[in-house]
């Protein structure tokens, strides 16, 4: 058990170190992430300037801006840049062979690597995030009640896991098809539009709204933000968290099934 923990710790620190080696990218990348927020504030200010009662689909301008800021927090947890394509590339190049002989599996390794990357990211990003949220505190209606805050924090952690296992599953599809970049593109497109990253999902007309409410994508950006802003009625709050847990579990099991089936298929070919 201890030996296993040591292996995991070594992998974890290696990934952190690798991430830090390229500091130019890192600092710039973190800072740049906030630039679109600025245009969003201006855009919505201009949109609401044309509105007579200062409300659109139940959101005030401040709500919308707070919403965008919160989705950025959610996406800091749930987005997995390069995960699926990385797994697919490893499959294509035969690099995954090493997982057949090493005492750690592909998903476990990727999860640790991702956690390493994310933690380093938070370590640096917490500065800019705190600054931006402090500067933008006026847009927020205030702290939500403890119950909502707890649900918010829980949903962030879950959205990380959901995002990870969902993208890992997509990447593992690379066992069956060589060209998964188109699959990823579809996913990216849908993700951008239907996760709530681009706008609060309330803006969507029916029947899209109902549709999107049942998809897992909304938990990657919309849901944590909506919880924080108390846009989810209290009686549905824990029910929604339950659905999020269910989706996470679904993709967890799916990715493991895909990995085992994929390796069977791979070794069947004789690699």
């Amino acid at each position: 058990m201890l030996a296993r923990a040591q292996i995991w710790w070594t992998i974890f620190t290696m990934c952190v170190a690798e991430r830090l080696a390229y500091r130019g990218d890192f600092v710039l990348g973190t800072t740049m992430r906030f630039l679109p927020m600025i245009t969003q504030i201006f855009l919505w200010t201009a949109v609401f300037a044309s509105s007579s009662n200062g409300k659109l689909v139940g959101f005030t301008r401040n709500d919308i801006i707070a919403y965008y800021l919160l989705t950025m927090v959610a996406r800091a947890f749930s987005s997995m840049p390069g995960l699926a394509s990385g797994i697919a590339r490893q499959i294509r190049d035969g690099e995954i062979k090493k997982f057949l002989i090493q005492p750690i599996d592909l998903i476990g390794f990727s999860l640790l690597a991702r956690m390493g990357h994310k933690l380093v990211y938070y370590g640096v990003a917490i500065g800019p995030f705190a600054l931006v949220f402090y500067l933008c505190r006026g847009f927020f209606p205030g702290w939500p009640p403890a119950e909502y805050l707890a649900a918010f924090l829980l949903s962030l952690v879950l959205s990380f896991l959901l995002g990870f296992f969902l993208e890992a599953s997509l990447g593992l599809a690379g066992f069956w098809t060589l060209e998964i970049s188109s699959l990823l593109f579809v996913y990216m497109l849908f993700n951008f539009f239907f996760s709530g990253h681009m706008f609060p999902l309330e803006i969507l007309p029916e029947p899209w709204r109902t549709w999107v409410a049942w998809m897992p994508l909304k938990y990657l950006a919309y849901f944590p933000a909506a919880v924080f802003l108390q846009k989810i009625p209290a009686d549905q709050l824990w029910q929604e968290v339950g659905v999020l847990v269910a989706w996470t579990a679904f993709f967890f099991f799916l990715s493991r099934r895909l990995m085992h089936a994929g390796f069977r298929r791979y070794s069947g070919y004789g690699g």
């Binding site: 620190t13 952190v16 170190a17 830090l20 080696a21 500091r23 890192f26 600092v27 370590g123 640096v124």
Partner: protein
């Protein structure tokens, strides 16, 4: 005038010194340490027109760096060089039209396209006269026997076929100077041989000047009369291939076939025994002792056959590389030791 003239050419660059451990990585975000690498430490070299010169040296000795300097891809830290009268790193278009660089580990052809499309692109880039282009291309394609492969995407070619295409691409504009960096790396024996044969023929017919780096002694033995050995960024030898043995090996190999199966047990007194497979024995004998040992052996034992040979070239060069590497490590250590002594002395004052 010589085709290539190099005086005191130096190249050093900085690399980021990565530190082990988590905390160190974090501190690497804010403060970085660099290490100075001296890839080439003052090279002097003159090459005449029509020479075929081999650069030999262990990995990281500075061979590739020297070729890149002469191609003008990188700028030296100090020193001078003239190739065909041009300073390479001024990158005059006229100069760039008159030489070519082929790197065995990299490819410049469009990966997804048939090689002929890349050739045509070269024609446009180098402004090769269409008639001359066609003639050169046909000739090269014919010499290398790749006519049927011209229409196949490069990614579908074997390594050897790809190398041939790379060579054609590099020679389309009829360069007067050709730099070859490991042109046969990773190729099988047949492909290596084909490329050697081609290079030899082409160089003789065209009388161009070629600088070649290679790991394969066979390449060099087959192609080059002149060998330049680089180790640790410096030239340690410049002369004929045979001269390498005279210069760097102080022993010969004596092979003795004894008449009866009974091998004398005291052979070790003549020199180091390399191999004993009765009735034959191979012994390393110091050059100066050869005559003595021969007389002695012939006088004392009944002998069927005897021969004296130079040690294999690979071996001499390998031990030469090992030696220079060791010397460098030692000088590094002595630097550190003297630095430490300085610090200690400074502490006392």
């Amino acid at each position: 005038m010589s085709v290539i003239e190099i005086r005191g050419l130096r190249k050093s660059y900085r690399v980021y010194q990565k530190k082990e451990g988590l905390l160190a990585s974090f501190s690497g975000l804010f403060h970085r340490e660099y290490r100075e690498v001296n890839a080439v430490k003052g090279i002097d070299l003159t090459v005449e027109k029509g020479e075929f010169v081999a650069f030999l040296g262990p990995n990281g000795a500075g061979k590739t760096t020297t070729l890149k300097l002469l191609s003008g891809v990188i700028t030296p830290t100090s020193g001078e060089a003239r190739v065909l009268g041009y300073v390479p790193w001024e990158r005059d278009n006229d100069y760039r039209r008159r030489f070519a660089l082929v790197m065995g580990q990299k490819n410049q052809l469009w990966w997804d396209l048939p090689a002929q499309e890349s050739f045509q692109l070269h024609q446009k880039i180098y402004r090769i006269d269409p008639a001359a282009f066609k003639q050169t291309k046909d000739e090269l394609v014919d010499l290398l026997g790749v006519g049927k492969l011209l229409g196949q995407p490069v990614r579908e070619l074997s390594l050897g076929e790809r190398m041939k295409m790379e060579l054609i691409a590099a020679l389309l504009h009829s360069p007067e100077v050709l730099f070859l960096d490991e042109p046969t790396i990773g190729l099988d024996v047949v492909a290596q041989h084909n490329i050697q044969k081609f290079l030899k023929h082409y160089q003789q017919v065209r009388g161009i000047t070629i600088l070649l780096t290679s790991h394969y002694m066979k390449d060099i033995a087959a192609l080059c009369k002149r060998v330049v050995i680089i180790a640790g960024g410096e030239i340690v030898y410049d002369g004929s291939l045979e001269g390498v043995i005279d210069r760097f090996s102080d022993y010969k190999i004596l092979t003795v076939d004894f008449a009866d199966d009974r091998m004398p047990s005291d052979l070790a007194r003549f020199g180091e025994i390399r191999e004993i497979a009765p009735p034959r024995a191979k012994i390393e004998v110091e050059r100066s002792q050869i005559a003595n040992v021969l007389t002695n052996v012939l006088a004392n034992y009944s002998i069927l056959d005897v021969s004296v040979e130079d040690p294999p070239l690979e071996e001499v060069i390998a031990s030469l590389f090992a030696l220079t590497e060791q010397q460098q490590n030692e000088s590094k250590e002595s630097n550190i030791a003297s630095a430490a002594a300085n610090v200690a002395a400074a502490g006392k004052n």
